[in-house]
C-alpha cells in the first residue's frame, strides 16, 4: 500500500461540521476505528471518551477538537516507527574473534548473546583496527537475528555428521576453521548445552591452555593479548585473575549483549571440504524420560492447567500423550486438583520451559512472572481479552477440554501413521 497520506478537504470540513447530514458517516470513514460519538437508542448522544485523542510526541494524550482525530489509531498518521539500527560493516578486519554458540533448540541462547557481546568488546576495542566476529554454528537452525546479535561473519556447517552429539566431527570442523583463519580469540560458552565440552576438546586438541569460567574481562597492558580476565575456579569458590589466553570459556552474563547495531552476518565457507572421520562415539539418540520426574524449574515443555480446566482426567491424559511436564496456576493448586510443587508463578516455581502451554489460565501478574523466561507461550482460553493471550505467541480461543482432546487425537494419529510407515 502507498504510504502517502491523501487528504480530502471536503470530508475534513464535514467532519468538523457537526450539523452536516453526512457528519457521522464521514467521521466513521475518517476515524477508521471505533466511533467516539453516536446516537443511542433513545435519541441521546453517547460519547466514548477513551477513543478520543492520540498520544502526542511527548507522551501526553492530546485531543484534537477539530474532529479529524477519531478512534484510537488516530487519522492514519500513526505509523509504526520502525527504528532501524545502524548497520556496521567491517570489510577487511584486522583480526577475527571466533565464537561457537550453543544454539540450543536452533536459536541463540541468552548465554550465546552475552558471549557475542563479549566478542564485540574484544573486536571493537581499537577503532583504528577493528576485528570481526566470526560465529561457527552447526546443524539446522531457526534463528534469523544473527545480524542483530553482532555477528560479522557466519560459518554454517550443516550435514548429517555434525547433527546430534558429534563432538569429533565438530571438533574437526573447528580445527579446520582455526587453520583457515587463525582467529585471535576463541570464545565458547562454558555451558552444559555442549559448549563446555566442545571448548575443552578444542583447546586440548590444539594444545593451548584455555581460561574456563570467565566472567569478566578488562583491558590490560601487561597481558599478551592486551586483556586480563577473572574466572571462577575450584567449583565456583575462587576467583582467578589471569591474562586472557586465546581460548576462553565464558559464563553467562559475562558481557552485555549487542543491542544497538546491526552487523553483516555474511556467510563464509571453509576453503576445503571436511575430511570424513571415523567416529568412535555413536549417538543412539535421546531417551524418553518420564516427564513427571523432571523438576518443574528445568522442564523443557510444560502443559499448565488453571481454573479453566474442568476435565482433569483429560488434562492428565493430554500431558502424558504430549510428553509434557505438568504445571498449574495457584487456583488449580488451592482447589486441590494439582500438587503444590506444580504451581508456577511468583509463589511457586519460576520455570524456564522452551514451550509453555497454558490451558485455562487467565494470566494474573503473579503467574506471568513465573513464565518470564519461557520462549514460546501457547494459550488455550475462552476469554479473548485476558492477559495470558497478550503474552502468548499463539492463542486459541475455545473450550480447553475440546481443544486438548483434538490435540491428543492429532498426536496419536501422527504417531499411528509413523508406526504404520515404519
Amino acid at each position: 500500500m502507498s504510504e502517502i497520506l491523501r487528504r480530502d478537504p471536503r470530508k475534513e470540513w464535514i467532519a468538523r461540521n457537526r450539523l452536516h447530514p453526512q457528519h457521522l458517516e464521514v467521521l466513521a470513514e475518517l476515524g477508521g476505528g471505533a466511533a467516539s460519538e453516536w446516537v443511542g437508542p433513545n435519541g441521546l448522544v453517547r460519547r466514548n471518551p477513551h477513543v478520543v485523542g492520540f498520544m502526542g510526541p511527548n507522551g501526553l494524550k492530546r485531543i484534537d477538537r477539530s474532529g479529524v482525530q477519531q478512534g484510537a489509531g488516530g487519522g492514519g498518521a500513526a505509523k509504526a516507527a520502525t527504528q532501524s539500527k545502524p548497520l556496521v560493516e567491517i570489510e577487511s578486519p584486522a583480526f577475527l574473534v571466533a565464537v561457537v554458540p550453543d544454539m540450543a533448540g536452533g536459536r541463540l541462547t541468552g548465554h550465546d548473546r552475552d558471549l557475542l557481546g563479549l566478542a564485540r568488546q574484544l573486536a571493537d576495542a581499537d577503532p583504528a583496527a577493528p576485528g570481526a566476529v566470526l560465529a561457527v554454528i552447526f546443524g539446522e537452525h531457526k534463528e534469523d537475528g544473527f545480524a542483530e546479535a553482532g555477528i560479522d561473519r557466519l560459518l554454517h556447517l550443516d550435514g548429517p555428521d555434525v547433527e546430534g552429539f558429534a563432538p569429533e566431527a565438530r571438533l574437526g570442523a573447528l580445527v579446520a576453521a582455526e587453520e583457515a583463519w587463525t582467529p585471535r580469540h576463541w570464545l565458547i560458552p562454558d555451558s552444559k548445552l555442549g559448549g563446555a565440552d566442545l571448548g575443552r576438546r578444542l583447546a586440548a586438541r590444539l594444545g593451548e591452555r584455555p581460561a574456563t569460567g570467565v566472567w569478566q574481562i578488562e583491558a590490560s597492558a601487561e597481558a599478551d593479548l592486551g586483556w586480563s580476565c577473572t574466572a571462577r575456579g575450584a567449583a565456583g569458590t575462587l576467583d582467578i585473575q589471569r591474562s586472557l589466553p586465546r581460548f576462553a570459556l565464558a559464563l553467562a552474563e559475562c558481557a552485555e549483549p549487542v543491542s544497538d547495531t546491526r552487523h553483516a552476518a555474511s556467510e563464509l565457507t571453509l576453503p576445503q571440504a571436511l575430511p570424513a572421520q571415523l567416529s568412535r562415539i555413536e549417538d543412539l539418540g535421546q531417551v524418553a524420560v518420564d516427564p513427571a520426574g523432571v523438576a518443574l524449574s528445568e522442564a523443557e515443555f510444560i502443559l499448565s492447567a488453571g481454573n479453566g480446566v474442568r476435565d482433569w482426567d483429560g488434562f492428565h491424559h493430554a500431558a502424558e500423550v504430549l510428553g509434557a511436564t505438568e504445571g498449574a496456576s495457584r487456583v488449580a493448586v488451592d482447589d486441590g486438583f494439582m500438587a503444590r510443587n506444580r504451581q508456577v508463578g511468583a509463589t511457586g516455581t519460576w520455570v524456564t520451559a522452551r514451550v509453555y502451554v497454558a490451558v485455562g489460565i487467565s494470566g494474573a501478574i503473579q503467574h506471568l512472572q513465573g513464565i518470564q523466561s519461557c520462549d514460546k507461550v501457547v494459550a488455550i482460553n475462552m476469554d479473548p481479552g485476558c492477559d495470558m493471550i497478550k503474552r502468548a505467541d499463539l492463542a486459541v480461543i475455545g473450550d480447553s477440554a475440546k481443544v486438548l482432546e483434538a490435540l491428543v487425537a492429532l498426536v496419536e494419529q501422527a504417531r499411528e501413521e509413523k508406526r504404520n510407515a515404519a
Binding site: A235, E256, V287, D393
Partner: protein, 255 residues
C-alpha cells in the same frame, strides 16, 4: 576400570573431604557387575588429604593407588604414565575438581594424550561388552541421551549420576594407600595467577535504551505484552489443535 579420585573441599566448612563428583564416579563404577575397580589419585599425602582419600576406601575398597606429587604440580603426566603402564578399559573421572583451578580440563587432556575417546557428563553406564560401552549422558533439563563409545575410553560423571553411598569408617581405616613415585612437572603458568575467594557477581541491571522519556516510561511500566502473538478466534477445536500441534512440532518438543 579405573576411577580417578581427587581431594574435595566442603563448600561451607572448607575442610577436605572426598569430592562429590568423584564419589559419584566410584558409585557409578560400583553399579557395574563384575568390574574390577582401581582407584587412582595423584597429589600430596598429608593428614587432611589422607582422611579425604580414606573416604573413598570406605566405599568398599582395600587399596588406593597414590602417586605422590608436590602441591601445585601438574598431575597430568603422572596420571597419563600410570594409565599407559596398565591401561584399563574405562577411566571414570569427575567433571571438575573442587580445589585449585578446577577447570575440568584434565579428562580432556588425558584423552588427547592417550588418544582415547571421551564422553562427558554421564548419568549411568548401562553395559560394557565386546569392547563397547553403552552409556547414558545427562543433558540439561533432565533429558538423557544414549551413546555407544569404543573402549578404552574416558568418561566424566554428571551430578545426575547416582548419589554416592556412605563411607564406612572401619574399612576406610583398614584400607591401604599404595604410594608410588612419578616424575614431577611443575605448573609454571598457574604460579602467575592471583587467587581470591569468589566475589559475588554483580546483578545484571535491566537497561532500557530508549530515545525519549516516553519510551523509557513505557518500558518501565509495561505489562507483559506478547508483541504480535497470533490469536485464533472463531476456530473449531480441531483447527486450534492443529495450530498448536504445528507449533509444538516446529519447536521439536514432541517425540
Amino acid at each position: 576400570m579405573t576411577v580417578l579420585v581427587s581431594v574435595g573441599r566442603h563448600p561451607v566448612t572448607g575442610r577436605s573431604r572426598r569430592a562429590d563428583q568423584d564419589a559419584r564416579g566410584v558409585e557409578l563404577a560400583r553399579t557395574l557387575p563384575g568390574a574390577e575397580i582401581g582407584l587412582l589419585h595423584a597429589g600430596r599425602l598429608d593428614e587432611g588429604n589422607e582422611a579425604a582419600l580414606r573416604g573413598y576406601l570406605g566405599m568398599g575398597f582395600d587399596a588406593l593407588t597414590l602417586i605422590e606429587q608436590p602441591e601445585s604440580s601438574d598431575a597430568l603426566p603422572a596420571l597419563a604414565e600410570a594409565l599407559k603402564a596398565a591401561p584399563p578399559q574405562l577411566v571414570i573421572a569427575g567433571e571438575r575438581a573442587e580445589q585449585g583451578e578446577g577447570s575440568g580440563l584434565l579428562p580432556y587432556l588425558l584423552a588427547e594424550r592417550l588418544g582415547w575417546p571421551l564422553v562427558s557428563g554421564l548419568a549411568a553406564v548401562e553395559e560394557v561388552s565386546g569392547g563397547v560401552a553403552t552409556v547414558l549422558q545427562a543433558l540439561p533439563r533432565g533429558q538423557r541421551r544414549r551413546l555407544k563409545v569404543r573402549l578404552p575410553a574416558i568418561v566424566t560423571v554428571d551430578a545426575a549420576a547416582p548419589a554416592p553411598r556412605q563411607s564406612a569408617f572401619g574399612p576406610a581405616q583398614r584400607g591401604r594407600l599404595e604410594v608410588s613415585e612419578a616424575p614431577v612437572a611443575a605448573d609454571v603458568e598457574m604460579a602467575e595467577w592471583q587467587f581470591k575467594p569468589a566475589r559475588k557477581r554483580p546483578k545484571r541491571l535491566k537497561i532500557v535504551k530508549a530515545a525519549s522519556a516516553r519510551d523509557r516510561f513505557k518500558a518501565a511500566a509495561a505489562k507483559a505484552e506478547g508483541g504480535g502473538g497470533q490469536v485464533l478466534t472463531d476456530v473449531t477445536a480441531e483447527q486450534g489443535a492443529a495450530a498448536v500441534y504445528k507449533l509444538l512440532k516446529e519447536e521439536g518438543v514432541l517425540r
